[in-house]
Symmetry: C2
Subunit: 332 residues, 2 copies
């Protein structure tokens, strides 16, 4: 078909701290051939997400990526050739394509990108798995009531920004925690948060007390560590906490302790662990709601787009240092 | 009426470790006089409970006991004089009488001991607040299903032994953790537990893995610390954890950290804080069920009874070292 090659990024070694570009290898090989019943996809967008740090550490529930293996990741692709009547050349599909430019897939592993999702990269972010994570974790696990104070960490990320904006739609008072003034400004001025603080400028304990003086009714945690600890001490009676991510400990092999259990007892709190794989049954309800919210301007988003597969290791390193601004996407 | 005096035990100083008898003062004063509408009670049984350690540290949700103040505690008493038509001389009542031999009370603060509770000291133990704690925490917060593996710490205590026995009634497999062979034997041979281990002889991580190889569906925690941490790493998918007591940290001013939040995420667990004061509406349902279970031999109990108010400081010290065997009661 073409003399073009398939570029791939493999894990070179398990990083013991924040991943660096040198922890990965860029290799090329012939474009794979699709067999009987299979589909050849050209990848247009690759999603980079914090959970990948757990995969390359060998401790994510989705399984490990070992040195020498292709990096995995969710992608949006264009169908190049198809031996399945359900998929036509030119269709946009979402799948686990990995960190590469071409991919052969079976029809059962592909999902057509809903035409309401525009641009299609949003199928990897606020209208994709991160959005569903926010929707299911907030509405089905935390169950906020109008008037509740909802606190969210990593607030300008794909999950955090959706948590906050959905909570606003549900009539809550929303407080965000982020790590730069640029993120804070976007949350306050564009995403409509009621208040935010920069945890690099103000201690989490002080920031949370200042902005949630009557306590936190719902805390949606994407980070763990010191921020989780501070939030737990400021819970209101009957608080609900959703534990969704552990950015604070992904870059370390040490498993640090967590908050004292007295924080849960004193607040009669309910703390729940969130894994999005348990909530795929809510995908349709989520997309119906979220595309409507987006159309009516109730949901804003930011994407942090890098062009070219070769940028993926560096973009991943930035993401794991919290230096991204919005959903990290590699445009191929 | 009598030349007898009212003996009282006051807190002398806040202990900084396990309380000693010398942290308390025994004083005597005239028996108080009941005023208009009031009732004079002669205390027969005083309950000693771990939560009192938090009160004398000033960090229990029920409020602090300060040096020089009377020690508080739940009691069963006999009405000696009454200026209220609802209470007659000789009635047995339950109330917050404190660590003393006589007490003047207002009718609204007294509750008649249900005649089904025999001996009446059980109104302070398995048929009282500890029993209600177990009943509400297990059935309303943890909601065990038949076949679930239910793990409980401080298993031979008033709360723990009721948790295990109610879980057995509900068709669960019940594993207990306790600190002496005598306790283990009672749990296995009398209380009908399916398995137990002594955390002083076997590490909590090993004991829990050995006895709950397929994971823990419900963990009812009365201790915190290392045992809680070990249980959290062995949770089954969808596990429920009730946090009810923190024996491991009551004797220290240091607030130690808790389990890593990854334990909750990986199990998609639900962790709830239990405070019995929120569950007094279930008192009647609890007593109806528990007195029936006791009558049919489904509930066994042990009481650790010391005679004489002067023994209370020593008995409290033993309790806080885990050296009691069953519900700690002072018989006056």
């Amino acid at each position: 078909m073409t003399s073009e090659q398939n570029a791939q990024i493999l894990l070179r070694r398990r990083p013991d701290a924040v991943p660096k570009a040198s922890d990965f290898d860029l290799v090329s090989s012939p474009i794979p051939l699709a067999g009987k019943g299979e589909i050849l996809c050209k990848i247009h967008y690759l999603s980079l997400d914090p959970y990948m740090r757990g995969q390359i550490n060998g401790r994510h529930i989705s399984g490990a990526i070992h040195p020498g293996e292709l990096m995995r990741g969710e992608t949006v692709s264009e169908v190049i050739s198809s031996d399945d009547p359900h998929f036509k050349i030119g269709d946009m599909v979402k799948h686990q394509g990995g960190w590469q430019t071409y991919c052969v897939a079976e029809p059962k592993d592909l999902q057509k990108v809903d035409p309401r999702i525009e641009p299609p990269s949003l199928a990897l972010g606020v209208l994709g798995m991160p959005g569903l994570t926010a929707y299911a974790g907030l509405l089905h696990l935390a169950k906020p009531k109008a008037g509740d104070t909802v606190l969210v960490s990593a607030a300008s990320g794909a999950v955090g920004s959706m948590v906050g904006q959905i909570a606003k739609i549900k009539g809550c008072r929303v407080i965000g925690i982020a790590g730069s003034q640029k993120k804070i400004d976007w949350l306050n001025q564009t995403a409509g948060f009621d208040g935010c603080f920069n945890y690099k400028e103000e201690s989490p304990a002080e920031g949370i007390k200042r902005l949630c003086p009557d306590g936190v009714d719902v805390y949606f945690d994407n980070v763990g560590g010191e921020i989780l600890d501070a939030a737990m001490w400021q819970l209101a009676i009957g608080a609900r906490v959703v534990l969704c991510g552990l950015m604070a400990q992904y870059n370390s092999d040490i498993v640090p302790p967590g908050p004292n259990p007295a924080t849960i007892i004193r607040a009669r709190a309910t703390v729940k662990g969130m894994v999005v794989y348990d909530h795929f049954d809510k995908q349709k309800a989520f997309l119906d709601a979220a595309t409507k919210w987006m159309k009516t301007g109730k949901i804003k988003y930011i994407e942090d787009v890098s062009e070219g597969l070769g940028k993926a290791p560096y973009a991943f390193s930035r993401l794991m240092r919290g230096q991204n601004f919005g959903k990290t996407i590699i445009k191929l």
